[in-house]
């Protein structure tokens, strides 16, 4: 016994170890659901059997399943005190001696894949507006078994649908390649009365010749609901279901009464054709069939439009870029079909989910759905979840065209044709270019979320709705809901009848196209048109002393995009004294004359004039809430421990020094991806000796050369070699180790030793050594608070005006001020004297750099523009023919992440907002210009450099500037260079030419807030797999994923189902 116990204990231990059991303790909870994947609905309750005849008191009253329309009618809104609406024939005839018709209720049949069961839930027929949470009750199909149980229906069921007359639930089973028919009446009865059993019939699918079709279904839809309210249920289901069999390249229309395929859409030839039931499929469940290559239909939707009575079936295939639109006749059988080809640039596009909208009258902003009189005309859309992780949109109302949802709103500002805005045809020459960064024509979800499902909903206005027009959660019109694998469910405007349809001429901030156009993600921020104004005596006046609403308010952010504060200069006193920092580049300032005060405001602020803000934020969809930093010679990648955007700031590679040069290699091939360019800077970071050898591999030590004056910069060297190599590596180890990047390839960059150039070397080239010496002294004085006329600081080092071939060519004379020397002691710290010049880095012997090398990539002589969410944007790609990194010739010109100081001049004929010239070509971006810039400047006593009282004043002056269009904001950087001061700080009377004051690390930053924030449903699913439309346009989200709780107060769950009211998204019923 002891031995057995011993072995058991060991086995238990080993099991625990090998299975790596979770260490979290989760509370027990009764869970009703287990991996739900689909939901269907039924109406069950009292029914007078009229068989379509007028109601009579003597007719039989029963309790049974009935057409869902019966519950639709009973759920209609009605005035308080008035009777609940009932279907014709189901009226109360008790006054005529008849028996009362019991009420009917809605039932949800929740399909659960893992156990192969259907769970039941019930709620009363009532208007959507009467839902308040807690309205839905889970039922137990087996009261004799603990917990709430479902009804077994089949193996690996994948879809459930209500038959035409509402009497059966049809289940498609992928595990057994058949259908199950669940009798609704018996199912509900069994849940009420445990002595009865639910009746489930297995239906073998057969072709027209009676042969069994043993193919594995992937999707199923039932023909539109019909049937007669007042007819008794038959012993078999009624109507057709369409089932997608991907391996058979077939969508079969199956008569649910017999299981016989009566019609089909066959893809086996590569082109869909309507056929009959003479089909054959590989026997996937029975085995033995050979699965051939071909189109694999996996997505279905069928709709009957309430206005036109048109019926359509839409089919998507996971390996085909074409949508198939099948026109159905009154019997729901195919009449004709057509295809819509979706843009497929990769050759691998497919569709995994589809939803067909009703016929929608597009346009209108009255707060009422106005389909019949809409100015834009009728459209009908298919929304398709595509394998490029976007939602594609196609207009199928009589035409076959994919709609481009990514047209750059900058280019359609003036468009007022609702029908044009409703669908820009993909591929049409008249369709404007897409917004920069768009992956294709489809709707993109934020943060690259993966869409899993989509459905389209109609949302009516609510009477006496107190919510203001434009309130994000106030939905009037037609809207798509898209679930994503990360748990979010997004709302898409299809036809928003509570917001303008196009921009308002003369009022640029009133309507934003990304918020108005169809097929755009809906925004969650309210009061978007808020302006910094106040009304005084009936006159609107600006307010200047504000940055707008607090974006961090607990009540949430509101208003439009804006800088949350004044742009900030981050200045190192070692380079520029605080008193002189005002001369450094910043974002353009404007004069704001407000009711409260007059001050300089940023062009990015909410206080900027409307026209300026409109130029600054031309595409609200492209705006994130993030912090932008413009850093002179800044990093090209800024990932953090919790942020993945553009790569780690410190990378690790290997250095090679041989007869082919000096180069850094990255075996993962990340250099083009990082956006590195010729003449960028590679800064070796060695290792930090303060953490010992932690940053070096085993066997290596973090060696700091005794002569090194560069703080915190050791080098990993083999422990047994470090001392021996100290002398040989001295120059390398004591230098700053900054190099110029020359050739760029995906896996390597060649490096050039970098001479130290005076940061304020003239942009037009220096003329002689004397000028360089003067500029060096000027630079030295920048670090002091002394007035320029009084400053005496000098730079003791020597500078020569020479051509530096290791840097990008410079304009004018082509020469730069380079620090010169005769020996290293002549140079400043960290620079090595070689060939008469002070080097920031030298080519080391290979033996010095055998260890892994940590390094940074920095923009060379340019600002790097990095957004905390958008990262460093660039258009560098790999030229596979040469192996070099090149600029993508097809890139959008707004895909920029660096700003040099001397870009081409802006074309005055180009449109400021679009950046396009009259001929349709893009202006240079960035480009240089001169602008009015308002700032606070020192105010001196006349003729002196003594500060007056007040000591500062607002000054508006013409300033050199650079305009930068990005995917999001457009901004103007002023004072990229200065003439220098003459006598007083910031008098700008110097005659130094165009000299930059930037130094490596100088930074301008601002926090952008009020960016586009997508409206998502207020639910927390783990892994939502399906969104579907329920009774009264309710939104049902099926969450298949487990939620593993780490809280004692919250149970772990095995899937959930949510019901939300489309008109009031905060009303949520949760089943779990």
């Amino acid at each position: 016994m002891a031995r057995v116990l011993y072995r058991s204990a060991l086995a238990a231990l080993s099991l625990a170890a090998l299975s790596c059991s979770d260490t979290t303790t989760t509370p027990t909870s009764q869970l009703n659901l287990d991996r739900p994947v689909d939901v269907s609905f039924a109406c069950y309750g009292g029914l007078r059997i009229t068989n379509g005849q007028p109601a009579a008191p003597d007719q039989k009253i029963t309790v049974s399943a009935q057409p869902t329309r019966a519950c639709d009618i009973r759920s209609q809104p009605h005035d308080a005190g008035t009777p609940t609406p009932v279907p014709t024939g189901q009226e109360d005839l008790t006054s005529q001696g008849g028996t009362a018709v019991p009420p009917a209720s809605w039932y949800a049949f929740i399909l659960q894949s893992a156990p192969g069961t259907v769970a039941l839930a019930q709620w009363n027929t009532k208007p959507s507006s009467a839902f308040s949470g807690g309205d839905i009750l889970m039922l137990d199909a087996d009261t004799l078994t603990p917990g709430k149980n479902g009804i077994s229906v089949g193996e690996d069921p994948i879809a459930i649908a209500t038959d035409k007359v509402g009497c059966y639930q049809i289940v498609a089973n992928a595990g057994s390649c058949d259908l199950s028919a669940l009798d609704v009446t018996s199912a509900i009865t069994s849940a009420i009365d445990s002595s009865t059993d639910a009746r489930v019939n297995r239906i073998q699918v057969k072709n027209a010749m009676g042969q069994v079709i043993d193919a594995r279904p992937a999707a199923m839809v039932a023909e539109p609901a019909g049937g007669t309210i007042g007819a008794e249920c038959s012993m078999t289901p009624q109507g057709l279901v369409y089932v997608a069999y991907p391996s058979c390249h077939l969508v079969a229309g199956i008569d649910t009464a017999t299981g016989t395929i009566v019609t089909s859409i066959d893809y086996s030839s590569g082109t869909p054709t309507v056929g009959d039931g003479n089909v054959s499929c590989p026997a996937e469940c029975g085995g033995g069939g050979t699965i051939t290559a071909g189109i694999r239909p996996v997505a279905l939707d069928v709709e009957e439009d309430a206005r036109t009575q048109e019926r359509k079936l839409v089919i998507g295939a996971e390996n085909s870029p074409s949508l198939t639109i099948v026109e159905l006749g009154g019997d729901s059988r195919p009449v004709s079909l057509r295809q819509i080809a979706l843009e497929n640039t990769t050759g691998s596009l497919g569709v995994t989910a589809v939803s067909l909208s009703p016929v929608i009258g597009m346009g209108g902003s009255s707060g009422l759905i106005n389909d019949d009189i809409a100015a834009g005309g009728d459209f009908q859309f298919v929304y398709a979840v595509a394998t490029d992780d976007t939602v594609r949109v196609a207009d199928v109302r009589g035409v076959n065209r994919e709609c481009d949802t990514q047209v750059d709103p900058r280019l359609i500002d003036d468009e007022q044709s609702i029908s044009t805005l409703a669908c820009y045809r993909v591929g049409d020459a008249a369709t404007p270019r897409r917004r920069p960064g768009a992956r294709g024509p489809g709707i993109e979800l934020p943060q690259d979320a993966i869409p899993t499902s989509v459905d389209i909903f109609r949302s009516e206005q609510i009477e006496n709705d107190p919510r203001l027009p434009g309130t994000p959660a106030k939905l009037i019109g037609y809207f798509g809901i898209v679930s994503a694998a990360d748990g979010r469910s997004f709302v898409i405007n299809v036809d928003n009848d509570d917001y303008a349809d196009f921009r308002t001429p003369g009022l640029p901030l009133q309507v934003q196209l990304p918020l108005a156009m169809p097929h755009q993600l809906r925004d969650a921020i309210s009061q978007r048109d808020l302006r910094a104004t106040t009304v005084v005596d009936g006159v609107e006046k600006p307010i200047c002393d504000t940055f707008g609403p607090n974006p961090d308010s607990q009540s949430g952010n509101f208003a439009g995009p804006r800088a949350a504060g004044a742009p900030t200069r981050t200045v190192q006193a070692a380079f520029v004294a605080a008193e002189k920092a005002g001369a450094l580049p910043t974002i353009r300032g404007l004069l704001c004359q407000g009711d409260d005060e007059t001050k300089a405001v940023s062009e990015l602020a909410i206080t900027a004039p409307d026209a300026v803000r409109d130029l600054a934020y031309p595409d609200w969809r492209a705006l994130n809430d993030e912090t932008f930093t413009l850093t002179w010679e800044g990093l090209l990648s800024l990932d953090k421990a919790n942020v993945f955007i553009d790569g780690p700031p410190i990378r690790v590679g290997q250095l090679v020094v041989d007869n082919q040069g000096f180069r850094m290699t990255d075996r993962s091939g990340a250099f083009c991806d990082a956006g590195v360019e010729q003449f960028d800077v590679l800064q070796l970071r060695g290792c930090d000796p303060s953490v010992g050898d932690a940053e070096c591999p085993l066997g290596y030590t973090c060696f700091t050369h005794p002569s090194s004056q560069v703080a915190g910069l050791g080098a990993c060297m083999l422990t047994d070699e470090a001392d021996r190599l100290a002398d040989a590596c001295k120059d390398f180890l004591t230098s700053q180790r900054r190099y110029t990047i020359n050739r760029t390839e995906a896996g390597l960059v060649t490096l050039l030793p970098r001479k130290h150039v005076l940061p304020n070397s003239p942009l037009d080239g220096c003329t002689d050594d004397m000028q360089c010496e003067a500029l060096a002294d000027y630079a030295a004085r920048q670090a002091t608070a002394a007035q320029p006329g009084d400053a005496t600081a000098t730079d003791p080092r020597t500078y020569k005006c020479v051509v530096d071939t290791e840097r990008a060519p410079v304009a004018g004379t082509g020469k730069r001020c380079v620090e010169a020397c005769t020996q290293t002691s002549d140079c400043s710290t960290g620079r090595i004297c070689q060939a008469g010049f002070c080097m920031e880095g030298v080519t080391p012997p290979q033996a010095c750099v055998n260890a892994p090398q940590r390094f940074e990539l920095r923009a060379g002589e340019a600002f790097s523009l990095v957004g905390s969410r958008s990262g460093y944007v660039h258009s560098t790609i790999l030229d596979t023919s040469t192996g070099k990194c090149i600029k993508d010739p097809n890139a959008h010109p707004f895909d920029v992440g660096r700003v040099r100081l001397t870009p081409p001049p802006c074309d005055p004929t180009a449109d400021e907002r679009t950046g396009m010239r009259p001929d349709g070509s893009y202006d240079a971006n960035p480009c240089s210009l001169t602008v009015d810039h308002t700032e606070v400047a020192p105010r001196y006593v006349a003729g002196t450099c003594t500060l007056d009282n007040p000591s500062s004043e607002l000054v508006t002056r013409q300033a050199p500037a650079i305009r930068v269009h990005t995917r999001g904001p457009t901004f103007t950087l002023v004072d990229p260079y200065v003439p220098g001061d003459q006598k007083c700080i910031r008098d700008r009377l110097g005659n130094l030419g165009r000299i930059p004051l930037e130094y490596p690390g100088y930074q301008v930053s601002w926090r952008q807030t009020g960016g586009f924030t997508p409206l998502t449903l207020f639910i927390n699913p783990s892994f939502p797999v399906k969104v579907l439309r329920g009774p009264q346009q309710s939104v049902w989200v099926v969450d298949e994923g487990d939620f593993l709780s780490t809280s004692i107060t919250q149970p772990s769950t095995r899937g959930k189902v949510y019901r939300l009211e489309i008109q009031a998204l905060g009303q949520i019923n949760l089943l779990e």
């Binding site: 091939g669 055998n850 990194c885």
Partner: protein, 453 residues
């Protein structure tokens, strides 16, 4: 010989008097099989036996004859042939194979029919994984992390037998040179971190990397193909953040994007953080030991964003062409598919493209086929199942296969259309027919081993 001395001490304390032969593990049986890998060429598969009960003095690596298995399966599938061979069971002989009474499509056979008892080797206890490095010319090298020591055992395959002991002998215990416990095999240097867990061997790069479950460290093993100078070359710790609920850092899944091509990128997952860290391996030009070069990282934020992210990664696998990365995660239970094909910049896209819900205790994933035939097989320890996932389209579970108790790891014999699954809790290997169109498609057609009661 560290292991025997420890074992001896243990036996002494336990008061047992078993002889060495009595505690020597059987060379022709599975005992708590864990890792499995089909060798290139698909003639053999290597199986690690964890000896998790410590019933024997060591674990082992057994060699499964896949040619024989394929032959038996072919006959069984085509004609329901049952091999006439007799196997010795105790003092008796009985037919080696018989039809499974509960699963008519399954043939159950003794291990003896497929295991060549003389070609395996003995290793430490609690082996967790196995990976094979192709040395060329038919030679292979297997790497096995063993959590008992902890150490990493390695053995060379010359085409006919494994060897990990210079003194030779059949079913020999690996010697110290083949059991890597210390950095650079030097006991004066540091020990490898605790709990070596998963291993990935890179044939072109001539290295292997091992993750450590409870420390989050990753160990690099230099494994030159023309030398037996195999040693721990580098150890990196602190790669992953600690689990906020228990403070543990864990590195788990590991896979190379293109293990047979130079400059492979290695992806490492974690049980404590929803992050995948990539590495490359650098070799200094001076011939010194290689080292790991941490590269980009990305977050598993495509699934489960609403409940803490996918912070419990387990098995990982790559498609044949390196264009897809498959990640098993337990929170929420999901198989995530990542696009690791090269972007226009020449760098992997590392972008999530799909996911599907799977069993709750998914542990490892194996890939079979390519293109339309590519499937991912996820072992579900708790449920005794293997989930078959079709990565096309929106990524769906195509089938769920009952394989036996405690399926731990799987490996695909792609040419033979077979999937081999180790059933840890019942000492068997389930062989699944993965041939498209086969009548027994995705069903266990052969169970090797005697089910432990």
């Amino acid at each position: 010989m560290r292991l025997p001395s420890l074992l001896g001490a243990a036996l002494f304390v336990a008061g047992c008097t078993a002889s060495e032969d009595e505690v020597k593990p059987p060379s022709d049986q599975f005992f708590f099989p864990t890792g499995i890998t089909v060798a290139p060429g698909e003639k053999v598969a290597f199986v690690t036996n964890a000896n998790s009960e410590l019933r024997y003095d060591s674990g082992s690596i057994t060699v499964l004859d896949l040619v024989r298995a394929q032959s038996v399966i072919d006959g069984w599938k085509a004609r329901e042939d049952v091999p006439p061979d007799l196997c010795k069971v105790g003092d008796d002989e009985e037919p080696c194979c018989a039809r499974d009474l509960e699963h008519a499509e399954t043939l159950v056979c003794h291990e003896q029919l497929f295991i060549n008892a003389s070609v395996g080797v003995r290793i430490g206890n609690f082996a967790t994984d196995i990976s094979v490095q192709d040395l060329g010319a038919g030679r292979l090298r297997v790497m096995v992390p063993t959590r008992g020591d902890p150490s990493i055992a390695w053995a060379d395959w010359d085409g006919s037998s494994l060897s990990c002991n210079t003194s030779g002998g059949a079913f020999a215990l690996c010697d110290d040179a083949h059991r890597l416990s210390y950095v650079q095999n030097d006991a004066d240097l540091a020990s490898i971190p605790e709990e070596p867990f998963n291993v990935f061997a890179d044939s072109a790069g001539e290295f292997a990397m091992v993750t450590h479950l409870t420390t989050g460290a990753v160990t690099l093993i230099d494994s030159p193909k023309d030398s037996d100078r195999v040693q721990v070359a580098d150890v990196l710790s602190g790669i992953f953040a600690a689990d906020p609920s228990n403070g543990i850092r864990g590195a788990t899944g590991i896979v190379g994007r293109l293990p047979n091509a130079p400059n492979d990128i290695i992806y490492v997952g974690s049980r404590s953080e929803d992050r995948i860290q990539t590495f490359t391996v650098g070799r200094p030009v001076n011939g010194a030991s290689p080292f790991m070069l941490p590269g980009n990282w990305f977050f598993l934020d495509a699934v489960g964003g609403n409940n803490g992210g996918s912070s419990d990664t387990r098995g990982m696998a790559a498609s044949v062409d390196g264009s897809r990365l498959f990640v098993v995660n337990r929170r929420p239970p999901s198989l995530q598919v990542w696009d690791t094909s090269l972007s226009p910049t020449g760098f992997p896209k590392n972008k999530a493209i799909g996911a599907t819900d799977i069993c709750r205790q998914g542990s490892t994933v194996a890939i079979s086929g390519s293109g339309d035939a590519e499937r991912a097989y996820v072992t579900c320890f708790q449920d005794g199942q293997v989930y078959v996932v079709d990565p096309r389209g929106d990524v769906d579970v195509e089938d769920i296969i009952l394989v036996g108790r405690g399926p731990y790891a799987a490996s695909a014999a792609k040419a033979a259309n077979l999937l081999l699954v180790t059933n840890f809790l019942e000492d068997t290997i389930a062989v699944v027919d993965t041939a498209p169109g086969s009548k027994t498609h995705n069903r266990v057609v052969l169970r090797i081993g005697t089910v432990r009661k």
